[in-house]
């Protein structure tokens, strides 16, 4: 059997010229690119697609092949080395502010994406309880599910799931291990010690009697309150009862139960 196409009549001779070159960007719509970059708590294995950063691994956890394999389980895309980091990555790693980063969360469920979006709102050096994230996404009872979703964060460090901790100040689990979580937070100058100490004495909110505003204890506004003007509260209702209004930056009142 011949594989040679039968000769085309002259008027159809252009048919075999209907082959066109594939567009330049086609490969990047299929594959993902990876590189190692220095991170705030050890090197990171960063993987990105044409949609944005899709995966971050702890580069200290293995060699290139092992890291790639871990990434494959999440992304299921061919991986090739990148020649340069994606736009904004290095500045974001220096500042801890990832607001301008583009992420590819196509492989992430809707619930998880909502959780990660809420986590992105937490500024460097601040922490929020799991319950706050649950309220923020309108699922106040899904505290445990929020924890699981953060544990599945495909892009840790860059989407700062490390800034979500327990109400009592305990760090709880982290994708890269609790020790890394602590290092990341201390590296951002979070007042972890103070948060824990206050929690031990039953204080979860701090108010300033000069501004009349009540915050989470890690909020930058709370940390500026001088000792004489600082008032601790166990509940937001308690603070409200004394005439304090919730901070508009750290938003302790987000979707609070009525």
């Amino acid at each position: 059997m011949s594989n040679q196409p039968e000769p085309l009549p002259p008027e159809l001779a252009g048919l075999d010229e209907l082959t066109v070159a594939a567009p330049e960007g086609l490969f990047d719509r299929v594959a993902a690119r990876w590189l190692r970059v220095p991170g705030p708590a050890g090197d990171l294995f960063v993987v990105f697609t044409d949609h944005g950063i899709a995966y971050v691994g702890d580069a200290g956890a293995g060699d290139d092949a092992e890291l790639a394999q871990a990434c494959h389980r999440r992304l299921a895309r061919p991986l090739v080395p990148a020649s340069k980091p994606p736009a904004g990555l290095l500045p974001a790693l220096r500042s801890g502010h990832g607001a301008k980063l583009q992420f590819d969360l196509r492989a992430v469920s809707e619930f998880d994406r909502a959780v990660l979006t809420a986590a992105r709102e937490i500024p460097p050096g601040q922490v929020r309880p799991y319950a706050w994230v649950a309220r923020r996404i309108g699922r106040p009872r899904a505290v445990r599910a929020v924890g699981s979703a953060l544990g599945r964060n495909p892009v840790p460090v860059l989407i700062p799931c490390h800034r979500v901790i327990r109400t009592d100040g305990a760090l709880s689990n982290y994708v890269f291990g609790a020790a890394v979580k602590e290092r990341l937070l201390l590296g951002e100058n979070a007042n972890l010690g103070e948060v824990r100490e206050l929690a031990r004495s039953g204080v979860f909110y701090l108010g300033s009697d000069t501004t009349g505003v009540v915050c989470f204890p890690s909020c930058s506004h709370a940390r500026r309150i001088t000792a004489g003007h600082r008032h601790g509260f166990a509940t937001l209702e308690g603070a409200r009862a004394e005439g304090y209004r919730p901070c508009r930056d750290c938003r302790p009142d987000v979707a609070e139960p009525a």
Partner: protein, 220 residues
């Protein structure tokens, strides 16, 4: 017998006249070995060899540049995901080109089915709509006028014939491979190709019979 694929490749390489020619045989032992040894590195090679034929087929089947990009990207991704679950022996036995084009056409049918459930699509036998034609024409500016015209005529063929002609004469599959990809007997594939070509010639000699008057009007 064992070097059947290789021998065919040599014979057909006579046809390779430009940088867009790719290996024309299905079973590519070198590529299969590369894929089995290192899937990601092998896949880069696979993409390099087949990207033009997969994209061209996607373009001639869908008739739209943006759809062709989506289709080709999705087909390669599906191919990669399938390969990552295959044992090396299975990869070695794949006839890569028809296999890729089968994935591509399945994806195209899925999308069309999904589109059929939402707003009604333009009938495929129709010439592309003006703005799409403009885009296509611009992209193909450096191609021959005849090719451009043929692409428009191709879009008017009934689906089966169009697929058969594209697979045979654009993707340059053997009739046996066309039959495999279309899931029909070889004789049927052959007759789809020859009827398609006949219809193309009719359309070519009497453009008014079709609705190509738009392109003629645009030229005046």
């Amino acid at each position: 017998m064992c070097n059947r694929g290789e021998g065919r490749g040599v014979r057909e390489s006579v046809n390779a006249t430009n940088d867009m020619a790719e290996t024309r045989h299905g079973g590519d032992p070198g590529l299969a070995a590369a894929l089995a040894a290192d899937l990601d590195a092998g896949f880069v090679e696979l993409f390099g060899v087949y990207r033009h034929v997969v994209f061209s087929t996607a373009l001639r089947v869908s008739g739209r540049w943006a759809d062709a990009e989506d289709l080709a990207a999705e087909a390669f991704l599906r191919a990669y995901r399938a390969l990552s679950g295959y044992a090396p022996e299975r990869i070695a036995g794949l006839r890569l080109k028809p296999w890729l084009l089968t994935i591509l056409l399945n994806e195209w049918r899925n999308r069309r089915r999904a589109a059929d459930r939402s707003p009604p699509p333009a009938p495929l036998e129709n010439v592309p709509e003006p703005q799409e034609q403009a885009e296509g024409a611009e992209r193909l500016a450096e191609r021959h006028e005849t090719s451009r015209e043929l692409a428009a005529l191709l879009a008017q063929l009934p689906e089966r014939q169009r697929l058969a002609v594209v697979l045979r004469h654009v993707a340059e599959l053997s009739t046996a491979e066309v039959a495999d990809v279309l899931g029909c007997p070889e004789g049927t594939a052959k007759s789809h190709v020859s009827r398609g070509l006949r219809r193309l010639r009719e359309l070519h000699s009497s453009p008014a019979a079709g609705s190509t008057s738009t392109s003629l009007g645009g030229a005046s």
